[in-house]
Structures are given as C-alpha cells and as structure tokens.
C-alpha cells in the first residue's frame, strides 16, 4: 500500500529529528517499542533511573491512598517554584519584611496568588505527609526490608515541619513573632543542647550557647532570628530535604513497591 503524502512527510520529519547529531547526543536509545529500549529509556535518564525498570502492574494502581507520597513530592515542587518567585520581592529585614508581604499581596501582579499557592501547598504538604505515613503504617509497609526507608521518611517529616515553622516567622507580624517566641522556648527543653533541658547545668549550657541561641542568632526574636530563619527556610532545609528525598525514592526502587500506590 502506498503511503499518503502526510505519512511520508511525518516519516521524513521524524528521520530529520532523530538522525540529527543533537538528538543522538542526548538520547542513547531507540523508540521504546522493544523490551531493551524500554529499559534503556529508564536507566539512561537521570530522573527516571531512580524508578524501578520493571514494576508489577498492580503496584501502579492508584487506589484508596491516592499516591499520597507522590502528592507530597508534588507539593514540595510547587513550594520550590512559588518560593523561588516570592524570593524576588521579599527581603528578610525587620524594617521591611512585613511591607514586602503586603506588596506581594497588593501591588505585584499574581503576587497574592503566588503567596497563597505557597501557603496552601505548605499546609497540603504537611497533611499529605501525614496521610502518606498513615497509609504506610496501616499497610505495614514500614516492615523489613523497608525499615530504613521508614526512618528516612520520619526525618523527612521532621524537615517538613521545621520548614513550615521557619516559614512561619517570615511575614514578621504578631502571629509570626509569638509563634517563634513560643516555639524557640520549646527548643530550650531539648536534652543536652537546651538550657532548660536535662543535663544542661552539667554541660555548662547557658542562654547564650544553647540550641535556642543557635536558632535565633541571639537571645530574642529579632533581626538575626529573621535572617537565620530565612536562610534555613530557603536554602539549608530544602537542600537537605531534596537529598533525603533522593535517598527515599532510591530505596523504593531497591526495596520494591509494597502494593498499590
């Protein structure tokens, strides 16, 4: 059967693209129509290679748990991108931080939308971490050989909560100030490194060298606290969390899916 003009045109264009040096320099595999090429697609791609090459059909069904871990990661990505945009207008200076937030809400195009997305995604991420962990717990997926990944997940939970908490201070309003006053006071009760915690006296911990001081960069919630929280919120914790997420996802590949998502 003779090919139509459009078919021939599309064949020609496909050949033009896939035979070019640029295409060949990037993709080291043919069309994923054979088993070899399908697996090459996965393990020649830096993002996909964390994913198992082969997955049981049943393990990909999205059922009652809605792939809560995947949604958590989705919200992390939303937070990364909206946070990046917010950073273009927000300055962590006690004299202008609150006004920068007001500017974001009133004078910057889509500023309020970006801020709201950041805020709601933050709430959603905490909520879905909780849902995800509940699913893992109820399906017993924390049991060997996945117990190490459960520990990594608990660390990620703590990072999610601390990210929420550090972001809390940045608007520099009354709510922020007192939330961090209260929260940093709680940190004082940490054993060994908090001034009000066990063994503080024996170790010579004082209000000016304990964990609260390290967090706030001083003894009160002031300029140094705002700056430290900003750096922890925008750089330190997202970086560490991303590294731990990589380990988390890689372990899933190594241990296998426990069941439907």
């Amino acid at each position: 059967m003779k090919k139509s003009f459009l078919d021939r045109l599309s064949d020609r264009l496909t050949e033009l693209v896939t035979e070019s040096q640029i295409w060949k320099a990037i993709f080291r595999h043919g069309f994923p129509d054979t088993d070899v090429n399908r697996s090459l697609v996965v393990f020649t791609n830096v993002f996909l290679h964390l994913h198992p090459v082969k997955v049981r059909k049943g393990a990909l069904k999205v059922r009652f748990a809605w792939c809560a871990g995947g949604l958590t990661f989705f919200f992390f990505l939303v937070l990364t991108f909206t946070g990046l945009f917010l950073m273009f207008y927000y300055v962590p200076d006690t004299r202008r931080a609150y006004n920068d937030i007001k500017d974001l809400q009133t004078v910057i195009f889509f500023g309020n939308l970006t801020r709201d997305m950041h805020r709601w995604a933050a709430h959603a991420m905490v909520f879905f971490v909780w849902l995800h962990m509940m699913r893992v717990f109820l399906t017993g997926s924390y049991k060997p050989p996945r117990e190490f990944n459960w520990v990594v997940g608990v660390l990620l939970l703590v990072m999610t909560l601390v990210l929420s908490w550090t972001g809390y201070l940045l608007p520099w309003d009354q709510l922020a100030l007192w939330a961090i006053t209260v929260g940093s006071k709680m940190a004082e009760a940490t054993p060994l490194i908090g001034v009000a915690g066990p063994f503080a006296k024996e170790l010579g911990i004082t209000p000016s060298n304990d964990i609260r001081f390290m967090l706030l960069g001083g003894t009160i919630v002031g300029q140094s606290a705002l700056l430290r929280f900003y750096v922890i919120h925008c750089i330190a914790l997202p970086l560490v969390a991303a590294i731990f997420m990589t380990i988390h996802f890689w372990r899933i590949r190594k241990d296998g899916f426990s069941g439907p998502l």
Partner: protein, 187 residues
C-alpha cells in the same frame, strides 16, 4: 617474610623498619586529619555564635523612685518588657515574660492579675502563679539605685527565680524571702 624484615632492619640500622615508619606516619596522618575535622567543626559552631549582639540592653535606668506609684506600673512593658511594682515596703521589677512559653502577659488592674494571652497563665502582683500552665513564678530583675542621679538601675540579665511551693491556690513563693537585695529597693 622474616628474611625481608631482617634485611630492612639491617639496612636502616636505626631500629626503625620501613613498615613501622609508614605505620607511624599514617597514624600521624589520621590524627592530624581528625584534628582538622574537629577544628573545623568547632570553627563552624563558633561562627554561628556572634561575639557582639545588637539587642536591646539588659541594664538600663528607668527613673527615680517617686516616679512610680503604688501597684503595678505598665508604662515600660513595650519598651523594656518589665513591670515596676511597688508596695508599702518598697519597689521591685517583674520581667514581663510568661514562664510558660515566653509571651508577654497583660496586667488587669480590676482583677489584680497578670494574664497571658497565649495559653492562659495567670499571675498575681507578686508573680505567684494563680492558674494556667506556667511551671514557675515570674522572674524579678535585679534593681539598684544610682548613687549620683538617684535613678533606678534595672538589670534584666540577673533574675530571681526561687523554687515555688505548690498549693491548692497555685504556685507560691514566700514573699519575705523575695524582698531582698538586689531584687528589692526598700522605701
């Protein structure tokens, strides 16, 4: 093996084998590497603890004795985070920080109580806990009189914090034991 070791010893002549020397050298290497790690760890910690803090001063003057009347004076809460309290015997300064989680309580003159807006701790004029989650009584700051201009000097860095006694009414500290120098100015 044995022959080799012997020949090394004979060649060196000083009793140090090549193997022994290298093993010592590597021990020294490991030790200096660990020392470097420990040093940079300490340096990293020390970097995060500044030598100078640009915070409000903890020692300051608040005026002369006759500027403060009987009862609780709330004028200095916003600026200095303290209340100045006076009774027939003298004057003391309460630190306006809730002992529960560090919020600033409010003074209600009609009830004669400090009440914390955050989690509902209640204190009386002496700083005794009358309700809520506060585990200890309010701090009292050290006070003294400047001999030259007779102004009251407050030092919020030095705080009186006696162990309270739990009763049905709340957490109490014997008032007589509290009204002592340097936390009290008799008038």
């Amino acid at each position: 093996m044995n022959n080799n070791n012997k020949s090394h010893k004979e060649k060196g002549g000083s009793g140090i084998t090549r193997r022994g020397f290298l093993s010592r050298a590597s021990q020294l290497g490991w030790a200096s590497m660990m020392a470097t790690f420990a040093g940079s760890l300490y340096g990293g910690y020390r970097f995060m603890v500044p030598n100078v803090l640009y915070e409000p001063p903890t020692v300051f003057k608040i005026g002369t004795l006759d500027e403060f009347g009987m009862g609780v004076d709330t004028r200095l809460v916003k600026e200095r985070q303290i209340w100045v309290a006076r009774n027939e015997k003298g004057l003391y300064v309460l630190v306006a920080i809730c002992r529960h989680l560090g919020c600033t309580p409010n003074w209600f003159a009609d009830q004669e109580r400090f009440r914390c807006p955050c989690h509902g701790s209640i204190y009386d004029i002496f700083g005794n806990v009358r309700g809520g989650p506060a585990p200890r009584t309010l701090w009292r700051a050290a006070v003294s009189l400047d001999p030259v201009d007779k102004q009251i000097i407050v030092d919020t860095g030095t705080r009186q914090d006696p162990d309270p006694k739990g009763t049905a009414e709340g957490l109490f500290v014997e008032e007589a034991g509290r009204e002592i120098e340097p936390y009290f100015i008799p008038v």
